[in-house]
């Protein structure tokens, strides 16, 4: 090494810094991952068990955290049928596979990630666009089975294409959306208006 070069600008010094910094940051990431995984496993406080679709889900302002958080309420089974944990997981999983197979993320965002051509689906279960809680399940089924005929694009001209979703598939997608709306997303989306109980 050229002795005229100060240690802090030498190649060998920065090589060591690069190795140690990278290794340290990676170890911290692994440690944080080990802490995070149990906290986002289905059945945890932040990410409820799939059987949460048997319950009423709200999204209310929390004074302590200063943003809206999901509130799990009384029994309110999806399509009027109580499901066991296994049945609920199977239904939600089928719904998620449908959203992947139909490439929903090609237009929508889920938890804010995806494309920006159509509305975010994170809290779509709670959206006032379904008019009222009483009409919601039926409205969602009809919409998913024939989106162009039930399009509500508010003058944008944008419509969801008909992806030939059957009634059973629509129910599975709705189960997945209902479960997703129960995830604690640290207040995202902000300032969300929740659907009314009655029209």
């Amino acid at each position: 090494m050229n002795n005229k070069i100060p240690w802090w600008s030498s190649e060998s010094y920065w090589k060591k810094v690069a190795i140690w910094v990278t290794a340290f940051m990676f170890i911290v990431l692994i440690a944080l991952t080990i802490d995070t995984i149990p906290k986002i496993t289905a059945g945890s406080e932040r990410v409820p068990a799939y059987s949460v679709i048997n319950k009423h889900i709200g999204y209310e302002f929390n004074d302590e955290r200063n943003f809206q958080v999901p509130v799990i309420g009384a029994e309110d089974p999806l399509f009027g049928k109580m499901l066991s944990e296994e049945e609920a997981e199977a239904l939600v999983s089928h719904g998620k596979k449908i959203t992947q197979g139909r490439n929903c993320m090609g237009c929508h965002t889920l938890l804010g990630n995806g494309s920006y051509f159509a509305p975010d689906l994170t809290k779509s279960w709670l959206d006032p666009g379904w008019v009222s809680e009483a009409e919601r399940e039926q409205s969602m089924i009809e919409f998913l089975m024939d989106p162009p005929a039930n399009a509500r694009s508010f003058g944008s001209g944008r419509m969801m294409p008909n992806l030939h979703i059957s009634r059973d598939e629509a129910k599975a997608v709705i189960a997945f959306l209902k479960w997703m709306s129960s995830i604690d997303t640290n207040g995202f989306p902000y300032n969300f208006t929740v659907i009314d109980k009655e029209s």
């Binding site: 030498s10 190649e11 920065w14 810094v17 690069a18 910094v21 990278t22 940051m25 990676f26 911290v28 990431l29 944080l32 991952t33 802490d35 995070t36 995984i37 986002i40 496993t41 289905a42 932040r46 990410v47 799939y50 939600v92 719904g95 998620k96 596979k97 449908i98 959203t99 992947q100 197979g101 139909r102 490439n103 090609g106 965002t109 938890l111 804010g112 990630n113 494309s115 920006y116 051509f117 509305p119 809290k123 959206d127 006032p128 666009g129 509500r152 003058g155 944008s156 001209g157 419509m159 294409p161 008909n162 997945f176 997303t185 640290n186 995202f188 902000y190 300032n191 969300f192 208006t193």
Partner: protein, 475 residues
């Protein structure tokens, strides 16, 4: 095209570069279609819906950039290691396997498009996860091809000689290939899904890809400006320390809103805010070396694109990323046209530019020359205009999308309560629509730049330099 005078690695690199440029064209074509569908939603409705055009747009981009990187590494491999590529035939086989797989995947995206909600769809049609929509069989094929590539790179350096650049490059490729595997599993839990999905996306584009282009930049500066190896290697180590020092935990800025604990707001916000620092270092490094060499190189187009890379990376990835990385603003901008604005300038500025620079470095050698004359017979108007059109086009799209993004985050998110009605209220607002119109105009400008770029790459250096110009240059 006769390329027998090139070394084996360079001959293989040319194959990768050709496919990269074809896919670059495809990316822009499908980008134009996606942009048009914002303005004319009935365009190709039910035939090639937005989810198809957009999927092809972003996947063509990821794949052409990978091709550009692999091509660039094969181009420099024999020169840097001072020996022949160890498994050249295997490398050629890998190229054809990868290219066949990419062709099949694109055809399935276009012709089959979607499938039922079962495992067959995820394995053979579409995985439905942004950027890594490629079905699982293709994932496995990509990993195998990357392993062949990694074997060729590491074994060739082991047989020949190591350098600072090759050491960083090889270790980076281990991380790059390993991280891809984090995305190859299914879970019904979308929070868990996105946790690992971000390992692939973020740790590629905001960590390992950045280090890879740092290696290419170091090599490119040595090649074009004859910068001293010791200087570029020291800078490379500094960049690696800063890049991984900020970028690895910067991953946390994707963990604000997906169900992950609140501590990620602090960790992600802090470390991702530091991510522009290594990009500043790259700009300083490139500009300093250019000044020291009095901007004199043997290849002006490559030099111009290297400088475009330094600034594009800093503004696109650094400034545009920083603008909405803190959770206090990201709450309103996450998943809006802000992200699209950042994505356009970052991918172009950080990655497209350096690959184009590397191809320009290769072009004179392909034509049996050492460099590109600064006195080209046509004045070099094609490369100059394509440089200008591409950069202005992408910057124009970025600004237009940002204006739409501002409007969307205010009207949909802050005022409209983020509902479907809020979303569409923002989408039909004149400010949003005007942004989309300007994006389209600049998109066409970008497309014109690509046509010129491809024309130039196919022709530059082919025409003999007139004797008068040679004399002028010599003088």
């Amino acid at each position: 095209m006769n390329i027998n005078h090139l070394n084996g690695g360079q001959q293989l690199a040319v194959k990768y570069y050709i496919v990269a440029m074809v896919l670059f064209g495809a990316q822009i074509l499908f980008g134009l279609l996606s942009g048009m569908q914002y303005l004319y939603p009935e365009l190709l409705f039910g035939i090639l819906d937005f989810n198809v055009t957009r999927t092809v747009h972003i996947n063509a981009m990821i794949v052409w950039m990978l091709y550009g990187f692999i091509g660039s590494v094969y181009w420099l491999l024999e020169e840097e290691s001072e020996t022949e590529v160890v498994g050249l035939k295997l490398g050629i086989l890998g190229f054809w396997v990868l290219t066949s797989a990419v062709t099949v995947v694109v055809l399935v995206f276009l012709l089959v498009q979607t499938g039922p909600g079962d495992d067959f769809t995820r394995w053979f049609v579409n995985e439905g996860r942004e950027y890594i929509e490629a079905p699982r069989w293709a994932d496995i094929g990509i990993v195998i091809c990357m392993l062949i590539f990694f074997y060729n790179v590491s074994a060739t350096f082991m047989k020949g000689k190591w350098s600072g650049i090759s050491g960083v490059l090889t270790l980076d490729l281990v991380a790059l290939a390993g991280i891809y595997i984090a995305g190859m599993f299914y879970t019904p839990n979308i929070s868990m899904d996105q946790y690992w999905w971000w390992w692939v996306i973020h740790l590629w584009v905001e960590a390992t890809w950045e280090v890879l282009v740092g290696c290419l930049m170091a090599w490119g500066l040595m090649k074009v400006l004859k910068v001293d190896r010791k200087i570029v290697t020291t800078w490379l180590y500094i960049e690696v320390a800063l890049m991984f020092g900020s970028g690895i935990l910067g991953l946390g800025h994707h963990y604000f809103w997906i169900g992950t604990p609140e501590y990620w707001l602090t960790i992600g916000g802090f470390f991702s805010a530091l991510e522009p620092i290594p990009l500043v270092a790259m700009v300083v490094h490139a500009i300093y070396d250019s000044g020291v060499r009095h901007m004199k190189g043997n290849n002006n187009p490559a030099f111009a694109w290297l400088i475009a890379h330094a600034f594009g990376n800093f503004f696109g990835a650094g400034v545009w990323g920083f603008m909405h990385t803190l959770p206090q603003i990201n709450l309103y901008t996450h998943g809006t046209q802000w992200s699209a604005s950042h994505g356009h300038l970052a991918f172009f500025g950080a990655y497209a530019t350096i690959i184009i620079a590397m191809i320009y470095i290769a072009v004179p050698y392909i034509r049996g020359q050492e460099g590109i004359s600064s006195n080209l017979p046509d004045g070099g108007w094609k490369w100059k205009w394509s440089l200008g059109l591409l950069n202005m086009g992408v910057v124009g799209m970025t600004v237009a999308l940002l204006i739409s993004g501002y409007e969307q985050s205010f009207i949909e998110r802050a005022v409209g309560g983020s509902t479907w009605l809020g979303y569409f209220t923002a989408q039909v607002h004149p400010w949003f629509v005007q942004g989309m119109e300007w994006r389209m105009i600049f998109g066409v400008m970008t497309a014109a730049g690509i046509v010129l770029l491809l024309w130039d790459l196919l022709t530059i250096g082919k025409e003999p330099v007139s004797s008068q110009k040679v004399q002028t240059e010599a003088a």
